[in-house]
């Protein structure tokens, strides 16, 4: 018996052979165990190919990407049509010209040789005319197509937070009958189909930024009009090249809230910086919605300019804030609010924004700390009712918002910025945070900073104070300007945020100024005294000298050794005020002992024991004056400490 060769087996196995040979092979296999074994071996060998079966799966993101490529191709085709529009017109005109020439020749060859304009016109073939018109329509349509606009948004050129919706119905809102909605919602929601079905939405209608000063944290609340259709809707947003924290995104309809429900928020694993809300809607039409999220990259800092009068008894204080935007996103016409307070951030928002996956933390890990959540909630809820009230009045102008009803510097804030009046910064207490609201709206462009005036107060009573404290400032006097953030000093309506203060002095009646000094200040609560350190003094000199030293009251033990004595030191402090104004002087002396007494007899100088080891002298120096302070310090050593302590207790009894 002749056995089957491999070629026959393969052909039989995969039905590559002809019918006749196939029958013959089958008969042979039936009677030949050796060939059957060879066939089984071949089957087993080819069965190894099965390891590649079911190896790949089609992901939603790939479908999305494919549809995006398709949309791009579609736009490219439209651009091509647009670019070929002109040649088409040329060809059409040329065709018409040739047609006229032909008609002219025909007419001239006719009997009468005369044709009216109308007759010629009616001879123009209709389709050719239509073609031209159609070309124009296509070209115009291609000029500003929605997908092109949408592609801009997708690329981030329109808005980094490119919110898109599949909804298309425009106009007033229509409540769709329940039965119809149920029917629509019964259908499985289709996957978001990229740009093909997405419209670019109107720009932000209203945006509010609440910038937290001490943390790299800003709450953004924006209102947009989104057009919904009844049934399922996809809303897509992206945060590419921004520092937006996608995990903080919230979406809330400001109207028909009971008829629009967010079903899910998804972040595609392959598509970075992009998320989608799936929503069911019982209405079709335009609905204002509020989108809130946290971002980093926005910061603000307060700056103060203080101008002292000539005798340095009063000061004008003006303040401005500089808002810096490094968030990657431009916020046009944003209402800007500044918060002072402490928030414990568990993670930096910028880290949250830049990570690969929106929810990349280990399972169960919370994104926000309690403080963060509390702040977010407070800030989010803060003006919502006011915004909603505003929506009802169908007017989004900022100056009508209730935010300006505050207990601050100006109880009535008039107008917008268009009149170029300096803006006011309104202040409000918000829980333990202080909220400063910049009047009107501001455009905060990415990578730009902007300076805005905050407040100005005049004739604040101040004291010029010179301090001498070797422990703190070394052997030199240091100059301070002292005032309080209270009503008595024309301040005290709000805390003053931390910032930088520059102090100038007037040197003549013409208002010329000289720079005295600058200092960074901390947050200044209401009714708190403020001392601005302006640096070492040059016109007020304070010089302590040890002019006498002796020991006294020696005590001896049973062996005749000294076990106690007093040190008596005499100091003179020379104070020289070369300035033409009276100044206050404060001198702190460290006695380097816990057991001491001081003898000081000058009644016009205030003395106090500041703490266990320090004494403090306070006096006022007249203009261009010099004087000497003299005091005697006795320090008790050894058993003298106990003796003096006993004497004092006896005196008290």
């Amino acid at each position: 018996m002749k056995h089957l060769i491999e070629q026959q087996l393969i052909e039989y196995l995969y039905e590559l052979d002809e019918q006749d040979s196939r029958i013959a092979t089958a008969e042979h296999l039936e009677n030949c165990p050796q060939c059957r074994a060879a066939l089984e071996e071949l089957k087993a060998k080819f069965a190894q190919l099965d390891v590649l079966k079911d190896d790949v799966g089609l992901t939603e993101s790939l479908i999305f990407d494919t549809l995006r490529v398709l949309e791009k191709a579609r736009n490219d085709m439209k651009s091509t049509e647009k670019s070929t529009f002109l040649p088409k017109i040329v060809i059409s005109v040329a065709a018409l010209f040739m047609f006229f020439v032909g008609i002219y020749i025909v007419i001239n060859q006719g009997d009468d040789g005369i044709a009216t304009d109308n007759e010629v016109a009616t001879n123009i073939p209709g389709p050719a005319k239509d073609e031209v018109e159609n070309d124009v329509k296509v070209a115009e349509k291609g000029k500003v197509t929605e997908p092109e606009l949408f592609a801009q948004a997708f690329d981030g050129s329109h808005s980094s937070l490119g919110v898109k919706s599949i909804a298309r119905v425009q106009g007033s809102v229509e409540v769709v009958p329940v039965a119809k909605v149920e029917e629509l919602l019964a259908k499985k929601p289709f996957a978001p189909a990229s740009n093909i079905e997405l419209n670019v939405l109107p720009r932000r209608k209203y945006v509010q930024l609440t910038i937290y000063n001490d943390a790299d944290l800003t709450l953004v609340r924006e209102t947009r009009d989104i057009t919904f259709k009844a049934g399922w809707n996809w809303l897509q947003f992206m945060w590419a090249n921004t520092k937006i924290d996608p995990t903080s995104l919230e979406f809330q309809p400001l109207a028909h809230a009971d008829k629009i429900e967010v079903q899910q928020l998804t972040f595609s694993p392959r598509l970075k910086d992009l998320g989608r809300w799936l929503m069911s809607s019982e209405v079709s039409g335009q609905v204002p919605v509020e989108i809130t999220y946290l971002t980093s990259g926005l910061s603000w800092r307060a700056f103060y300019t203080a101008t002292l009068n000539e005798d340095e008894t009063k000061m004008d204080l003006s303040s401005y804030v500089r808002v810096e935007n490094q968030s990657g996103e431009t916020y046009d016409n944003a209402q800007t609010r500044l918060v002072v307070g402490q928030v414990n951030l568990r993670e930096n928002i910028v880290d949250l924004a830049s990570r690969q996956y929106a929810y990349g933390l280990p399972e169960g890990a919370m994104i926000m700390s309690d403080d963060e959540k509390r702040l977010f909630k407070e800030l989010t809820e803060y003006n919502r009712h006011k915004i909603q009230a505003e929506i009802k009045s169908d007017d989004y102008s900022i100056d009508k918002l209730g935010i300006v009803e505050y207990d601050g510097y100006d109880t009535v804030v008039e107008g917008f910025m268009w009149n170029m009046q300096p803006k006011k910064i309104l202040k409000q207490a918000l829980s333990e945070y202080q909220l400063y609201t910049i009047e009107g709206t501001e455009t905060l462009s990415d990578s730009w900073s902007k300076r805005l005036p905050s407040f100005a107060a005049t004739d604040i009573e101040v004291e010029s104070l010179y301090k001498y404290d070797e422990d703190l400032y070394g052997a030199q006097a240091v100059r301070f300007v002292k005032f309080a953030n209270d009503a008595e000093h024309e301040l005290g309506l709000t805390p003053l945020p931390q910032g930088n203060i520059r102090v100038f002095g007037r040197i003549d009646d013409d208002g010329h100024l000289n720079y005295i000094g600058g200092v960074d200040t901390k947050y200044i609560p209401v009714n708190e005294e403020v001392e601005l350190n302006l640096g070492p003094a040059t016109q007020v000199m304070i010089e302590p000298k040890l002019v006498g030293y002796k020991t006294d009251n020696y005590r001896f033990d049973g062996n005749g050794n000294i076990n106690g004595f007093d040190e008596v030191k005499t100091f003179e402090i020379e104070i020289n005020n070369t300035r033409a104004i009276a100044v206050d002087i404060e001198i702190n002396r460290n006695f380097n002992s816990l057991n001491w007494d001081i003898e000081f007899e000058q009644t016009d100088v205030e003395y106090e024991k500041h703490d266990a080891t320090h004494g403090r002298f306070k006096l006022e120096m007249k203009p261009a004056s010099k004087r000497m302070l003299r005091y005697e310090l006795t320090v008790y050593n050894g058993v003298r400490r106990d003796e003096v302590l006993g004497e004092r207790e006896t005196d008290r009894e």
């Binding site: 491999e6 393969i10 995969y14 060998k45 390891v51 799966g57 494919t66 490529v69 191709a73």
Partner: protein
């Protein structure tokens, strides 16, 4: 609701129906992606070529007259896209990615993490087998490989393959036979550890 045919969906897409094309992708995408992936052995490249294929489907949608099966037309486009890409790659130097983890055992770790297999050894063995099959398929000519993949993995008939590759039935059978014959030599003997 009646299911629309491929031709109807394509026509709807041409007419501006914005969901028709997605339905086509969902209907044919999984198998097509499998075909392309087996042709090029690179999942990322396969995804790019997958997108390119559907882009061409969109571009040439008007040229499809419904005279043949849509599936054959689709695979014909995909085959051309893949073969064009192979030609381009032949003209380019081969680059190796340091991040490639095809045969570094990472599949075993991933499988452990995914809880798909109980035995990591099993997974490693599976990885090796896949690699052997991939290497074997790589030795075939483009036509042989396309034919074997379409017939073996995609379950297409020889007639459909002939339509797709725009050749005669006998040519397809010849490609198939030669491909299988080569594989019979290239694939290792089926022995080793079994459970």
């Amino acid at each position: 609701m009646t299911t629309r045919s491929d031709a109807e969906l394509l026509q709807s897409h041409i007419d501006g129906d914005q969901v028709a094309f997605e339905q086509l992708i969902r209907r044919h995408g999984p198998a097509l992606l499998g075909y392309i992936t087996k042709m090029v052995y690179d999942s990322q490249l396969a995804q790019d070529l997958f997108q390119e294929t559907f882009k061409k489907v969109h571009q040439y949608a008007n040229s499809y007259k419904g005279q043949g099966k849509f599936k054959s037309w689709l695979y014909s486009i995909a085959s051309n896209v893949v073969i064009d890409n192979m030609r381009k790659l032949k003209r380019q130097p081969i680059a190796f990615s340091l991040n490639t983890s095809d045969n570094d055992g990472s599949g075993a770790f991933a499988a452990i993490e995914d809880d798909k297999v109980i035995n990591p050894y099993q997974q490693v063995t599976c990885d090796e087998s896949k690699e052997q099959v991939k290497v074997a398929l790589e030795q075939l000519t483009a036509q042989q490989k396309a034919t074997v993949i379409m017939a073996y993995y995609q379950g297409m008939t020889y007639k459909e393959i002939a339509e797709t590759l725009n050749c005669s039935l006998s040519t397809v059978k010849t490609h198939m036979f030669r491909g299988l014959k080569a594989l019979a030599k290239l694939l290792p003997d089926p022995k080793g550890v079994t459970e």
